[in-house]
């Protein structure tokens, strides 16, 4: 989180994380295509020729003022392919909340798990853990025939009982609900930490 007092802006950095081809970029594309133009900046995509993310995608959203403050949401995706470890680290720097985009296809379960472990490692390097960090899970590609049942995916991936959403990112199902949920998680997290700080002072 970053606070620009003069402009009364509150910036949150939200990162879409998950295995390659899981649908992270599809989330940003859908949001970009559907949201009121007055609320969005350019969609920046750094891709290979095969449309794979090689560095990040970026989209800034803003909503109306709240109590005189202007929230701005900086949405990023990481490259999911395993060998882009260093670029993921750069993109994750200063992250406030994560949407973990899991690929529902049964054959992708190992990739989901590996990526979740990789995320935990990256967070630990920033002094954070998945247990305490704000994140949500999006089970994407629910439209595909080999999609695993949700209970089974929940057991494997949702270790800390975070909010989860079923999605078809290309068609938009679950995209906005995941986004709203992560924003609320981040703000609630700030609140509860403030509460703790207050109790310690008392």
């Amino acid at each position: 989180m970053f606070i620009h007092w003069a402009l009364r802006e509150i910036h949150l950095k939200l990162v879409y994380y998950g295995p390659g081809l899981g649908g992270k970029t599809a989330n940003l594309k859908y949001i970009y295509s559907k949201i009121d133009p007055a609320l969005k900046g350019d969609l920046v995509m750094l891709n290979s020729r095969e449309d794979r993310t090689i560095f990040f995608d970026f989209l800034q959203l803003e909503v109306g003022q709240i109590d005189g403050k202007k929230p701005k949401f900086n949405l990023y995706t990481v490259p999911g392919q395993v060998h882009y470890n260093h670029t993921r680290k750069v993109v994750l720097n200063g992250v406030d909340g994560i949407v973990f985009v899991a690929d529902s296809q049964r054959e992708m379960m190992d990739a989901n798990l590996d990526t979740l472990l990789d995320l935990e490692k990256q967070l630990v390097m920033q002094g954070k853990t998945l247990e305490e960090f704000p994140w949500v899970i999006q089970y994407n590609k629910r439209d595909l025939p080999s999609a695993m049942p949700i209970d089974e995916m929940e057991k494997k991936l949702n270790l800390y009982g975070v909010p989860f959403f079923e999605a078809v990112a290309t068609g938009g199902q679950g995209v906005f609900s995941s986004l709203k949920a992560i924003i609320k998680q981040v703000v609630a997290n700030v609140h509860s930490q403030l509460g703790q700080a207050e109790r310690m002072r008392a």
Binding site: I35, D36, G41, V44, V90, H191, A197, R201
Partner: protein, 171 residues
Amino acid sequence: MNNLVEGQFNPGPALSKAQFESVLTCLAQLSNKLRLTAVLLVDNSGRIMAQKSEGSHGDQNALATLAAGSYAAMRELAKRLGEKDNFKMVLHEGETHNIFISAVGKDHFLIVISGKGVAMGMVRLFTKRTIEDLGPILKQTSSESSIDQLFNDNFESLLSDELDRSLKEKE
């Protein structure tokens, strides 16, 4: 950068009003001297702290984020070649503009976009002076405002309503 609640929960960096005004003054001076197309002070994540630009050049946030990304990538690259922590700048000389990205302390950098009419030597020299001025400003700590004031009790429910209003499919 000032800690918001000293020694307590620190939600991250902030820029105070006073810092913002001082930074703007520095950027305006540099911009006038070099007749710059744009100059932006940006943090490591690509967030714009302050900017001064002539005319419009598309989405400034996109520009800042891309600069942050290319700067971070070049720094990693330099590290891999065994360069220690002395990586300081990225320069792109284009057909109509030069882009000069230069570190300001550890957490910020300056993006200077100049027309081809201005000698690169001048750009570097004056940018270096501006960076020396910016360093101390960004280090200031201020107790101006605290985060408690920012998030009052209503904030969460107001935000929730606003998200439902704004973040939705527009037909």
